[in-house]
C-alpha cells in the first residue's frame, strides 16, 4: 500500500527505535525518543505503510538557544526496502513544516558523516542546506561530521515549499 508521511504518535516510537537499530549505527534508548516526542510533539515524523513504520525523522529544538528558536535534526532513516520513493526528502520537509508552523523556528541544523555522499546530496542539493563547519571526530568511530544548516525563509515563498513535489515523488506508481 502507499506510503503516508505523517506526524509520529507516542505509539510509533518503538517502531522508530527498531527502524533506527536496523539501519543506522547511531542508536538511542527509548527514553531519548520519549524525550523528543514529549518535548516537541509535532516535530517527529514517520513514513507509514498502512500501519508499519518504514522511515522516520527525529527532530528537536536547540535547547541551548534561549533567545531564538532553532531546530535540529537528531536522526533520519528509511528502510532499504523503501528506497527510491523520495521518503527521506518528504520526511525532512514535513519536519521543516512543523518547525516553521508550530514553532516559528529561525533555522534548522544537522550533522552528517563526511563520507555519506547520498545524504550530503540530499541535504545540500535537494533541501538547500549549507555547510557551516566541520566537527572533528564527531562519530564514535572517529569520522568527522559536517555541520549543515538551513535558514527558513518566511518572507518570500512558503517555508514548506516542495511538499507537493515530494508527494509527486511518492506517487511514483502513477
Amino acid at each position: 500500500m502507499g506510503v503516508c508521511v505523517r506526524a509520529a504518535t507516542i505509539d510509533d516510537l518503538w517502531a522508530m527505535q527498531r527502524c533506527n537499530l536496523m539501519c543506522l549505527p547511531e542508536n538511542y534508548q527509548m527514553k531519548y525518543y520519549l524525550y523528543h516526542a514529549l518535548s516537541w510533539p509535532s516535530l517527529l515524523q514517520v513514513a507509514d505503510v498502512d500501519g508499519a513504520v518504514v522511515g522516520y525523522v527525529l527532530a528537536k529544538l536547540d535547547e541551548e538557544s534561549t533567545t531564538e528558536i532553532k531546530g535540529h535534526i537528531t536522526s533520519l532513516s528509511v528502510l532499504r526496502t523503501h528506497r527510491k520513493l523520495g521518503l527521506a526528502a518528504t520526511l525532512m520537509r514535513a519536519a521543516h513544516r512543523a518547525l516553521t508552523e508550530c514553532y516559528g523556528a529561525r533555522d534548522v541544523s544537522l550533522h552528517v558523516r563526511v563520507s555519506n555522499e547520498a545524504a550530503i546530496h540530499l541535504y545540500r542539493d535537494v533541501l538547500a542546506y549549507e555547510e557551516v563547519g566541520v566537527e572533528e571526530k564527531y562519530y564514535a568511530d572517529g569520522e568527522n561530521a559536517y555541520n549543515m544548516r538551513l535558514t527558513f525563509d518566511y518572507g518570500g515563498e512558503d517555508a514548506t515549499r516542495g511538499l507537493a513535489r515530494d508527494a509527486a515523488k511518492l506517487a511514483v506508481h502513477a
Binding site: 500500500m1 502507499g2 506510503v3 503516508c4 508521511v5 505523517r6 506526524a7 504518535t9 507516542i10 505509539d11 518503538w14 527505535q17 527498531r18 537499530l21 536496523m22 539501519c23 543506522l24 549505527p25 542508536n27 538511542y28 534508548q29 527509548m30 527514553k31 520519549l34 524525550y35 516526542a37 514529549l38 518535548s39 510533539p41 509535532s42 505503510v49 498502512d50 534561549t66 531564538e68 528558536i69 528502510l79 532499504r80 526496502t81 523503501h82 528506497r83 527510491k84 520513493l85 508552523e101 508550530c102 514553532y103 516559528g104 571526530k137 564514535a140 568511530d141 572517529g142 507537493a164 508527494a167 509527486a168 511518492l170 506517487a171 511514483v172 506508481h173 502513477a174
Partner: protein, 885 residues
C-alpha cells in the same frame, strides 16, 4: 525537648546545608565528606544519616550498596522518627529501586509530619501518577493549587488528574479559571508565572486549546467542542490535529457535508493517509474497507468509489492512493488488467524495491492473483522481445531494456514466491519457479542488492533457512557499510541457527565491539528475540532465557521510563502527547515483542519444569545403557563429534568477539579518552543459573503477570497462563484461564484441549480434597460431563486442520490417557495446506512435538518433508545443506 536533641550547632548546620546542596547538584563525594564531618561529632543525627544513605544509593549504579543505603536511612529514622526529612529520604531511596508502593508510604508519613511541604507533595503526586492512583493525585493537586496559584503547572496538572478520573467538566473549569486569572494579569506584578517559557507561548496556547476540546468531547459535549475549536482556530498551530478533531466531531454530530469538507482538507495535507481515505469514504456512505477479502462491494458502490477516486485524482495533487486503491475495489476483468498494466510500469522503470509489497494484499483475491501472473509474464516476454511495456511504452536504451527486464523478472519471481506461500500443497512448484526466475534476474546484474534480498525472502518463505542466510550474506557483502543489510543478514543467520557468525556480524555495528552489552544498552529487542529463539532451537536454554529476560527488563524499563516525564510534561504543557503516553504505557506488555518474548520464555520454563536438566541427563544415560555395545560406542562418538563442533564454534565466537573488542578499544583510544573501564563483567554469560533454576514456574510468572495485566484479552496469554497454573497445582486459576480463552475464541481447539487436560487434573485429585467436587462441576460444564480421555478423543475426532490445533489435541490425548503414542499419531495426522495456515504454524507445531518426543518430531518430519522440499526444519530434499549436516 526533642527539637533540641536534633538541632545542630552553627558549624554543623552549615555543613548540613552543604550536604543537601551536594546531593541536589550530584556532587556526591562532597556530600559524603560533609555528612561524615557532621557524624563525627553527632553520630546519631538522623537527618544526616538518612542523607548519607540517600547519597550512597545515588552513587550506586550497580545496586551493590543498596543494603547499606537502606540501613543508613533506617538508622536515621530510628534516631529521628518525627523528622519529615528522614521519611522523605526513605521514600527517595525506595524510588531509586522503583518500589513505588513503599515510596508512597514513606512520602505519606513525611506529609503527616509536615503537611504543607510542597516538595513532598509533588514527589508523592508523581508516584500517584506512576501507579495510576488518580483519586489521590487529584486530592494532592487541589492542595498544591491552593498554595501555588501563580504557576500554570498547578492548573494543568489538576485538570489532567480530573480528566483521568473521568471528571472532564471540572477539568475544563479549572483550565477556564486559569485563563481568566492569566488574562486578568493577576500575580504578574510579583514576577510570577515563571513556569512559562516565552519562546513556547504560541505552542502552549495551542496545546491548551486542543486539551480543552478533548475535555469537552470526553464529556460528550461535541457541539461545545466544535464551537470552541472554531472560535480558537487561530491559536492551534498543529493544523492536522485541529482538523482531525473537527472531522471526528462532525462525524459524531452527523454533519456529513461539513465532515466531507474537513476530510478533503486533511487529504490535501496528507494525500496518502489511509485513515483519512477511510473516513472520507465512510462519510459518503461508502465501504470503509475496500481491500480484497474484506467483504463484497456492491456494484453501485464500485461506481461511486470510481467516481470518488477520479475526483481525488483531479483535486488532490500527487495522491498515490488514488492510483492504488482502485486496484483494490475494481473487480477482476479487463478493467483491472488495464489498471495493473499502467500501475507497474513506472516503478519497474525505476526499480522501486517496494513494488511487490505494495501489491501484495491483492493476492487475497485468487482471480486477481491469476490476472497478475498473466500480466507479469506477458510484461517479461514483451520487454525481452521488443523492449516495450504492455502499454506500448518503450525502454529508452539497450541498458534500460536490460534493467526493466531484470526488475520485471524479479516481480514475477516475487509473485511466484507469494503463490507458493498461499498454495494448498506446500507450494514446491511455485517456489521452484520463483527461484529459477530470481536467478535469471541475478544473472542480468549480480551486483543488484535488492535481488539478493528478495532471493533470501523467497527462500525463507519456502523454509530454506540456510539458503536464505547465504543469499542475505551475499547482499551484505555488496555493501558492507550498510547496517540494514547487516541486520537482515544477522536475522537470517539466527533463523538458520548460525549464531556464532550472526553474533560476529552484529558486533560490526555495535559500538563497543562487545555487541552483547551494546545491543542490550540500546534496547535492541529485535536482536534479542531472534537470538533467544535461535538458542531455543539449538537447545541452549540458558542463553535463550538470558535473552528473554533481557527483553523483559527492557519492557520494565519502558514502563519505568515514564516516571520522569510526569512532572516534566505537566510543567511543559505537552498535555496531549502526555495523555497518549499514559495510554500507551498502560498497554506496554501487550506489545507484540513482549508477547513473543513471554511466549518463548514461558514455554521454555514449562519444559524445564517437566524435564529438568538432571532428568534429561539421566534419560540419556538410560538410552545409552539400553543400546548394544557397538551402538553405544557409535552414539557416544556422535555426541563427541557434535560437542567438538560446538566447542570449536564457541571458541571461534569468543575469539572473534575478543578481536572485535580489541579493534574497538584501539578506535576508542585513538578518538576519545577511554571510557570507564569498570564495565561490569557478566558473571553468568551462558545463563547457566537461569537454566538450572529450581523455580522455573516462579520465573515463568515474571512473564505471565505483566501479560495478564496488559494483554489479558489475547488468547495466547490465557493459554500460556494455563500451562503455568496447571503445573503450579492452581486448578481454579487454570479454570479461569480456560474460560477466558474460550470467551476470546469460543471454538478454540487449544483452549478446549486445555479443558481436557484440566479435567484430567481434577480426576486425579484426592477424593478427600473438598475442592474436587466443586471443580468437577465446573469442568463438566466444559466437557459436557465426559471424562477427560473421552473429551480429548472427541476433540481429536473433530479432526482439526491447523497443525497447532492438531498438536494441542494430541498433547491433550497423551496427557489424559497417559499414552505417548498419541503424539506420534497426531504428528502423522498433519495435513499440508498452506492456503489456510502459514508455514510458520507447521514449524511451530514441529517444535512443540520436538520439545517432548523425538519420535513424534520424526513422524511430523515424515508427514511434511515431501510437501516442503525446501524446508530446512523438515530436512527437505531441496533444502540447502551445510558441511557436517
Amino acid at each position: 525537648m526533642s527539637r533540641d536533641r536534633h538541632a545542630l550547632p552553627n558549624r554543623e548546620r552549615a555543613l548540613f546545608t552543604k550536604l543537601v546542596d551536594a546531593y541536589e547538584t550530584k556532587k556526591y563525594e562532597k556530600g559524603i565528606a560533609a555528612a561524615d564531618d557532621i557524624l563525627r561529632n553527632f553520630p546519631e543525627h538522623g537527618e544526616t544519616l538518612a542523607m548519607r544513605g540517600l547519597i550512597v544509593r545515588s552513587m550506586d549504579d550497580g545496586h551493590e550498596h543498596n543494603e547499606e543505603a537502606h540501613a543508613l536511612v533506617k538508622r536515621g529514622i530510628e534516631c529521628h522518627p518525627e523528622s519529615h526529612v528522614c521519611w522523605h529520604v526513605m521514600g527517595l531511596v525506595w524510588r531509586a529501586e522503583r518500589n513505588h508502593v513503599e515510596s508512597a508510604k514513606c512520602y505519606a508519613q513525611a506529609l503527616r509530619l509536615d503537611p504543607d511541604n510542597s516538595l513532598i507533595l509533588k514527589d508523592l503526586s508523581v508516584v500517584h501518577l506512576q501507579t495510576r492512583n488518580m483519586e489521590a493525585f487529584v486530592k494532592l493537586r487541589w492542595k498544591l493549587l491552593s498554595s501555588r496559584r501563580d504557576q500554570r503547572a498547578s492548573y494543568v496538572s489538576l485538570a489532567c488528574g480530573l480528566h483521568l478520573t473521568g471528571d472532564h467538566d471540572s477539568a475544563f473549569e479549572v483550565l477556564e479559571s486559569y485563563e481568566k486569572i492569566r488574562n486578568a494579569k493577576q500575580f504578574d506584578s510579583r514576577g510570577a508565572w515563571r513556569d512559562e517559557d516565552p519562546l513556547m507561548k504560541r505552542f502552549d496556547a495551542s496545546e491548551l486549546t486542543l486539551f480543552k476540546a478533548t475535555l469537552r468531547r470526553a464529556s460528550g459535549k461535541e457541539k461545545e467542542a466544535l464551537a470552541l475549536l472554531e472560535r480558537d482556530e487561530a491559536k492551534v498551530v498543529d493544523r492536522v490535529a485541529y482538523l482531525t478533531h473537527v472531522g471526528e466531531i462532525q462525524v459524531a454530530l452527523g454533519m456529513k457535508a461539513e465532515a466531507e469538507k474537513t476530510y478533503w482538507k486533511l487529504l490535501d495535507r496528507l494525500p496518502d493517509s489511509y485513515d483519512y481515505h477511510r473516513s472520507l469514504r465512510a462519510v459518503k456512505g461508502l465501504p470503509k474497507d475496500v481491500r480484497d477479502g474484506a467483504g463484497e462491494i456492491s456494484d453501485g458502490d464500485i461506481v461511486a468509489l470510481k467516481a470518488l477516486y477520479r475526483e481525488i485524482e483531479e483535486k488532490i495533487t500527487f495522491c498515490a492512493a488514488a492510483k492504488r486503491l482502485p486496484l483494490s475495489f475494481t473487480k477482476p476483468g479487463d478493467e483491472f488488467d488495464a489498471l495493473v498494466v499502467a500501475y507497474i510500469e513506472k516503478p519497474l522503470r525505476k526499480g522501486v524495491p517496494s513494488l511487490f509489497e505494495d501489491l501484495k494484499n491483492l493476492y487475497e483475491n485468487p482471480a486477481k492473483a491469476r490476472a497478475m501472473e498473466r500480466i507479469f509474464t506477458e510484461t517479461v516476454a514483451s520487454l525481452k522481445s521488443s523492449g516495450k511495456f504492455l502499454s506500448g511504452g518503450e525502454t529508452k536504451s539497450e541498458e534500460g531494456k536490460k534493467e526493466c527486464t531484470m526488475y520485471a523478472v524479479n516481480l514475477l519471481a516475487m509473485h511466484h514466491g507469494e503463490m507458493g506461500r498461499r498454495s494448498s500443497d506446500g507450494g514446491a512448484k511455485d517456489f521452484a519457479k520463483a527461484l529459477e526466475l530470481i536467478e535469471e534476474a541475478i544473472a542480468i546484474d549480480a551486483s543488484c542488492v535488492d535481488l539478493h534480498l528478495n532471493k533470501a525472502s523467497i527462500l525463507e518463505l519456502a523454509g530454506d533457512l540456510h539458503g536464505a542466510a547465504d543469499a542475505a550474506e551475499t547482499s551484505r557483502k555488496l555493501d558492507l557499510a550498510d547496517r540494514f543489510l547487516n541486520s537482515n543478514c544477522v536475522r537470517h543467520m539466527m533463523r538458520a541457527g548460525r549464531y556464532a557468525y550472526a553474533e560476529q556480524l552484529a558486533a560490526i555495528f555495535a559500538r563497543d565491539g562487545d555487541q552483547a552489552t551494546n545491543l542490550y544498552d540500546m534496547e535492541a529487542t529485535w536482536f534479542e528475540l531472534e537470538a533467544a529463539q535461535c538458542h531455543t532451537r539449538g537447545k541452549k536454554y540458558g542463553r535463550a532465557l538470558k535473552y528473554y529476560h533481557a527483553v523483559l527488563s527492557h519492557f520494565q524499563q519502558f514502563v519505568e521510563d515514564q516516571f520522569d516525564f510526569h512532572s516534566y510534561c505537566l510543567r511543559r504543557t505537552a498535555i496531549n502527547s502526555y495523555l497518549d503516553l499514559l495510554k500507551v504505557e498502560d498497554k506496554m506488555y501487550a506489545r507484540q515483542e513482549f508477547r513473543d518474548a513471554a511466549k518463548g520464555a514461558v514455554m521454555l520454563y514449562v519444559d524445564l519444569f517437566d524435564e529438568p536438566p538432571e532428568k534429561k541427563a539421566a534419560a540419556l544415560e538410560a538410552k545409552v545403557a539400553a543400546m548394544s555395545a557397538a551402538d553405544a560406542d557409535k552414539f557416544r562418538e556422535e555426541l563427541r563429534v557434535a560437542k567438538e563442533r560446538e566447542d570449536k564454534a564457541e571458541e571461534e565466537r569468543l575469539a572473534a568477539l575478543e578481536e572485535a573488542k580489541k579493534v574497538a578499544a584501539a578506535q576508542e583510544s585513538k578518538n576519545k579518552s577511554p571510557k570507564d573501564a569498570t564495565k561490569k563483567v557478566d558473571p553468568d554469560p551462558l545463563g547457566k543459573a537461569l537454566e538450572n533454576t529450581k523455580e522455573p514456574l516462579e520465573q515463568a510468572m515474571k512473564f505471565i503477570e505483566p501479560l495478564l495485566l496488559h494483554a489479558a484479552g489475547y488468547e495466547e496469554t490465557q493459554l500460556l497462563a494455563f500451562e503455568v497454573f496447571l503445573r503450579q497445582g492452581k486448578p481454579i486459576l487454570a479454570l479461569k484461564a480456560v474460560n477466558e480463552a474460550l470467551k476470546i475464541k469460543p471454538n478454540s481447539f487449544q483452549a478446549k484441549s486445555n479443558a481436557a487436560r484440566l479435567t484430567r487434573h481434577v480426576e486425579m485429585m484426592d477424593e478427600a480434597n473438598p475442592m474436587k467436587k466443586v471443580l468437577m462441576m465446573q469442568v463438566s460444564k466444559l466437557t459436557g460431563n465426559q471424562t477427560a480421555a473421552a473429551y480429548a478423543k472427541a476433540l481429536a475426532d473433530e479432526s482439526p486442520l491447523n497443525p497447532l490445533d492438531v498438536a494441542a489435541v494430541s498433547f491433550a490425548q497423551r496427557e489424559t490417557a497417559d499414552d505417548d503414542s498419541a503424539l506420534i499419531n497426531g504428528a502423522k495426522r498433519t495435513n499440508v495446506d498452506c492456503s489456510a495456515f502459514p508455514f510458520g504454524s507447521y514449524v511451530a507445531a514441529y517444535e512443540r512435538y520436538a520439545s517432548v518426543s523425538e519420535s513424534a518430531a520424526e513422524a511430523m518430519k515424515a508427514a511434511c518433508a515431501s510437501a516442503f522440499p525446501y524446508a530446512t526444519v523438515f530436512g527437505g530434499s531441496k533444502s540447502t545443506k551445510r558441511d557436517g549436516e
